[in-house]
């Protein structure tokens, strides 16, 4: 399809915003969007125009647990939050408002690497990407405390039928499980001294496993991977 044709661009932007563009066509359009800021602008204009209808949506009170969970996920109010949570929050930009989180991974790594690190030279980051190179999770490792933190870049749908397991693969070594990663929660794990020493050339991976994690000690279906790189 010729995505340069002005009428087609406008039509697809409108149909994307309305939601009638679905399935493969929607995915294909999103890939074009990721590299086309002008088209993104057109989509946003359409979304802001059509979503004026949200004001006349029928009001249905959500149960109180919805707000409680939002509060839980946001953690303590930011006035008390430290450097780390600000750093995590600054990643919010990359989550894309439900749209277009397919930012180039290289750019994301640069962005993270450029973010101020409290202890220069002792921190590492990794962006775990899927087979289509979309960034899915981000990890940060503090060499001093040996703490590795991993979390989703975007909210993910919980999947009770599977567990997600985190692995570290040292250069030339075999994958070692670091435990399960719950959906939408920050996973914190302390690496062993050996793992910490070899972290720089290691790869992090997330696999899909039966509930409870891999029984064999080896990863099942590998979903996301990313190399660990030093931050500035």
């Amino acid at each position: 399809m010729n995505y340069q044709h002005p009428e087609l661009r406008e039509r697809l932007a409108a149909e994307y915003a309305l939601g009638t563009l679905r399935g493969l066509a929607r995915r294909r359009f999103e890939r074009v969007l990721a590299a086309d800021p002008g088209l993104r602008d057109q989509v946003q204009a359409w979304e802001l125009r059509l979503n004026l209808l949200a004001e006349s949506a029928p009001a249905v009170a959500p149960p109180p647990r919805v707000w409680q969970r939002i509060e839980q996920r946001l953690g303590p109010a930011p006035a008390r939050a430290g450097v780390l949570s600000r750093w995590w929050n600054s990643l919010g930009f990359w989550r894309g408002a439900g749209l277009l989180a397919m930012a180039a991974t290289a750019a994301l790594v640069l962005y993270i690497a450029a973010a101020p690190a409290p202890q220069p030279g002792t921190n590492y980051v990794a962006v775990l990407i899927d087979a289509e190179k979309n960034p899915i999770l981000v990890a940060r490792f503090d060499a001093e405390s040996r703490e590795l933190r991993v979390r989703d870049l975007r909210p993910v749908a919980t999947d009770p039928a599977h567990s997600r397991e985190l692995w570290i693969v040292p250069a030339g070594g075999t994958p070692k499980s670091l435990g399960l990663v719950e959906d939408n929660k920050t996973k914190t794990v302390t690496l062993s001294a050996d793992q910490a020493a070899a972290v720089e050339k290691a790869i992090l991976a997330i696999s899909r496993e039966d509930p409870g994690g891999s029984k064999s000690g080896a990863p099942g279906e590998v979903l996301f991977t990313g190399p660990v790189v030093p931050s500035l």
């Binding site: 309305l18 939601g19 679905r22 979503n51 004001e55 029928p58 249905v60 959500p62 109010a77 749209l99």
Partner: protein, 179 residues
């Protein structure tokens, strides 16, 4: 006077958690209603509203009141989350058919209309200029997240007709909304 949704969003951008809670209280019922219409699953709609407000908090800084209203900005996040949720389920088809039967065009009453933002009133005015079936097609697509095929099935109209109803309605709406 209660602060506007726009003012609350701007306060969220500066890290004011109480503003988020106020914004939630003001807007969550309609956003939940919006998500329910598309997803037809309470569980899924709860998840979407939850995810959306986490995004709202983190992205509040990117809200630009010069480009659109706060509610449209919120609606945009919620609807995009809905479509992502449908996609993640590995199916694009809506879930519970019983919601389909009970749906009505939430055309606002005159009193409700007066409570809408100026821009939303204007959009409603533009919608009223469309003929019944094209307008209904567009509203079904918006509020129910229906595809062209589903709208055609619903209105018992040929697919090609529904496509051109919706496409022409979109063009007319844009022309009507332009300053």
């Amino acid at each position: 006077m209660a602060p506007s949704r726009e003012a609350l969003l701007e306060a969220c951008a500066s890290g004011d958690r109480a503003a988020l809670q106020n914004l939630y209280a003001m807007t969550a019922p309609q956003l939940f209603g919006l998500a329910l219409g598309i997803l037809r699953s309470r569980d899924l709609a709860e998840d979407v509203v939850q995810d959306s407000f986490v995004l709202v908090w983190r992205h509040a800084r990117s809200f630009d009141p010069g480009r659109g209203t706060a509610m449209a900005w919120l609606g945009r996040i919620v609807r995009n989350q809905c479509f992502d949720a449908l996609r993640r389920r590995g199916r694009e088809a809506p879930l519970d058919q019983t919601f389909l039967e009970t749906w009505e065009d939430p055309a606002p009453s005159p009193a409700d209309l007066a409570a809408l933002s100026r821009d939303a009133q204007r959009l409603r005015g533009c919608l009223d200029q469309l003929e019944d079936s094209p307008r209904q097609s567009l509203l079904l697509a918006y509020y129910q997240g229906l595809t062209f095929e589903e709208v055609a099935g619903r209105l018992k109209a040929p697919l090609g007709t529904v496509k051109s109803w919706i496409r022409r309605s979109l063009i007319r709406l844009k022309g009507c909304m332009e300053p």
